[in-house]
Amino acid sequence: MAYSATVGQTAYRFPDLKTLLARATPARSGDQLAGLAASSDTERVAARIALADLPLKTFLSEALVPYETDEVTRLIMDSHDAGAFAPVASFTVGQWRDWLLSDAATSDALSALAPGLTPEMVAAVSKLMRNQDLITVGRKARVVTAFRTTIGLPGRLSVRLQPNHPTDDPKAIAASILDGLMYGSGDATIGINPATDSVGRCLELLSMIDDLRRRFDVPVQSCVLAHVTTLIQVMERGGPVDLVFQSIAGSQAANRSFGIDLSILNEAHQAATSLKRGTVGQNVMYFETGQGSALSAEAHHGLDQQTMEVRAYAVARAFDPLLVNTVVGFIGPEYLYDGKQIIRAGLEDHCCGKLLGLPMGVDVCYTNHAEADQDDMDTLLTLLGVAGCSYIMGVPGADDVMLSYQSTSFHDANYVRGVLGLRPAPEFEAWLTRMGVMDAGGRVRPALAAGSGARRLIDGVTT
């Protein structure tokens, strides 16, 4: 079915639904690379006008990626909850946008609605939202998950401590972990990107963190972000696996390019759940996504990169993850060209993930070949803090010496917590206070007197 709208003197026609979605998307380099972007600002607005009148339920009858050949589409369609969808079933996409911003769309209403939403509906409505709309709706949609800490409570912002090292040297990684803990980071997870995908090295690193956690009674969960098949082998060898990580994307073919499918994720999820290592919850999966990954694998099926990104969230929600984050500026300028595009995408991904019921964090980041710098990251970080983002990354000095990109630092986390009055996860906050890392005013100011908890921690790692 074709769609049309007129802006000024010009009538625009869009031959099908995926073209309509692509043309309505705010400008970005990845859609231009794919040949899907609107050719002018007026065409873009015309697409939005046409999209606003589309009945929301259209997405339940028209699959953008074929049901027969794509297991992600089958997952989306087969797990759709018609009862949860009922309150918005009669809306157009435009009416739903207004409803999402209305007082009727409370946090509870959004939680109840989530199982009734498909990624395509959520992507569509986000294209009709300004940045402030994405912030308002993202803030209302609350998602709480737990393992040894509780992530996503109102007024809280957690941090993944990311202590990477170019050769996975355990001593170097331990040094970065200590640094992060002393700056109040680590309550989302202590998560290491390994330089090489090795079962032996995974075991070594996980055991090192587990020892530290037990010695100092730290309420954290660890993760080595190796391939899911590697983590399955680590679990088979009895390794202390808290969280299983995997990069995921929005189509079967894109996931195959990562060497995964839904059944291998299911196997890993069951294996990690059976270990029962959580204390306050049992969410055991950690997923990363990012706009452009499907196109990069030439597995985007002619869809715009933001719609494909939201389809990845449907994969994530099938496994009740503790953490999901978009690595928004990592993939490079061919997908998100500059600070403006990265900021927009970060707000979209956060809002869309939360609407689908995911514990959404954002790796606020950029590469050295993108037109972006720390000023852009400060802007996005602050906006995400306002939007109620579940967690961000904490990288020493914002400089990841293994992955060669810039993210947010431990200092950045304390900046945004400080200016917005956000606090760490409650279990971790209590530990920081007990250890004297956090002062009575809730600021991270380690008390280093002899005998203090912070001093014991430093001495424990340095000797």
Binding site: P166, I173, M182, S257, P333, G397, D400
Partner: protein, 253 residues
């Protein structure tokens, strides 16, 4: 303003990561901020530095070399069009395909081809390309290796076109990695067994990253690359089916 590091700054000797930076309130001390900005400027400049392929070929004069181009004509196009950087220029594809026919027999083939590519840091190849090749080739005694290929405006998958044109069983792509702040001179090595141009997926490759004197030292990296090559030849695959667990690392093995 304070220049002071944190009291655990003795740990800085263990890692190039920016730890124990000290604080001005919750923020960075200005000295640390300016260090970061200087490193970012250096990395940005490395991205845009042109590849001196002729100069590199001169340093590799002991070995036959061949210069090829991708379909990306310049740096600006290269950065925004990765699809063009993955494909060999038509003239160079014809050149390599023709070369394969000039051997003794009608269908020359090779055990492996090594490609040195600018990627996102030509500087990495300028600084460490020769050292890595000098470490790697002696570890490949008995292998029939094609002439070294130097590739301009190239992405990893360009090696697939090269291997197919030369009928090489394994391609080893030594490519300048995206510059980071601490290192703007890292080489990444991507190994692919029997690549299929346009079809090979990332999960079918093995990667050794951060190759530079202060990261994964060229001699150690060459050990791992040569080991992966021998495993790839034995197992007839690369990628997630080839775990990078070398025997000494296996507990109990």
């Amino acid at each position: 303003m304070s220049d002071g590091f944190d009291s655990w700054s003795n740990l800085r000797r263990f890692t190039p990561a920016r730890i124990a930076l000290g604080r001005a309130g919750d923020a960075l001390p200005l000295a640390r901020l300016l260090e970061f900005q200087a490193a970012h400027a250096l990395a940005r400049d490395a991205v845009h530095q042109p590849f001196d392929a002729d100069g590199l070929a001169d340093t590799l004069a002991d070995h036959p070399t061949l210069l090829v181009r991708s379909q990306a004509p310049d740096r600006a196009t290269y950065l925004q069009r990765p699809d063009l950087g993955r494909r060999l220029h038509a003239d160079d594809l014809a050149l390599l395909s023709g070369m394969r026919c000039q051997g003794q027999g009608p269908k020359k083939s090779y055990d492996a081809v090594i490609v040195l590519a600018d990627g996102l840091s030509a500087r990495a190849l300028h600084d460490h390309g020769k050292a890595l090749v000098d470490e790697l080739l002696p570890r490949l005694a008995g292998w029939d290796i094609a002439p070294l290929i130097l590739a301009r405006q190239a992405r990893v998958a360009l090696g697939d076109d090269v291997a197919a044109a030369l009928n090489a069983a394994i391609v080893v792509m030594l490519i300048g990695e995206r510059p980071g702040l601490t290192a703007a001179d890292s080489i990444g090595a991507y190994l692919t067994f029997r690549p299929r141009p346009g079809l090979t997926r990332d999960a079918e490759r093995n990667c050794v990253s951060n190759i530079r004197p202060d990261g994964y030292a060229p001699a150690l990296a060459a050990d791992l690359i040569a080991w992966l090559m021998s495993q790839a030849r034995r197992l007839k695959l690369t990628g997630i089916g080839l775990k990078q667990d070398r025997p000494p690392e296996l507990p109990g093995a």
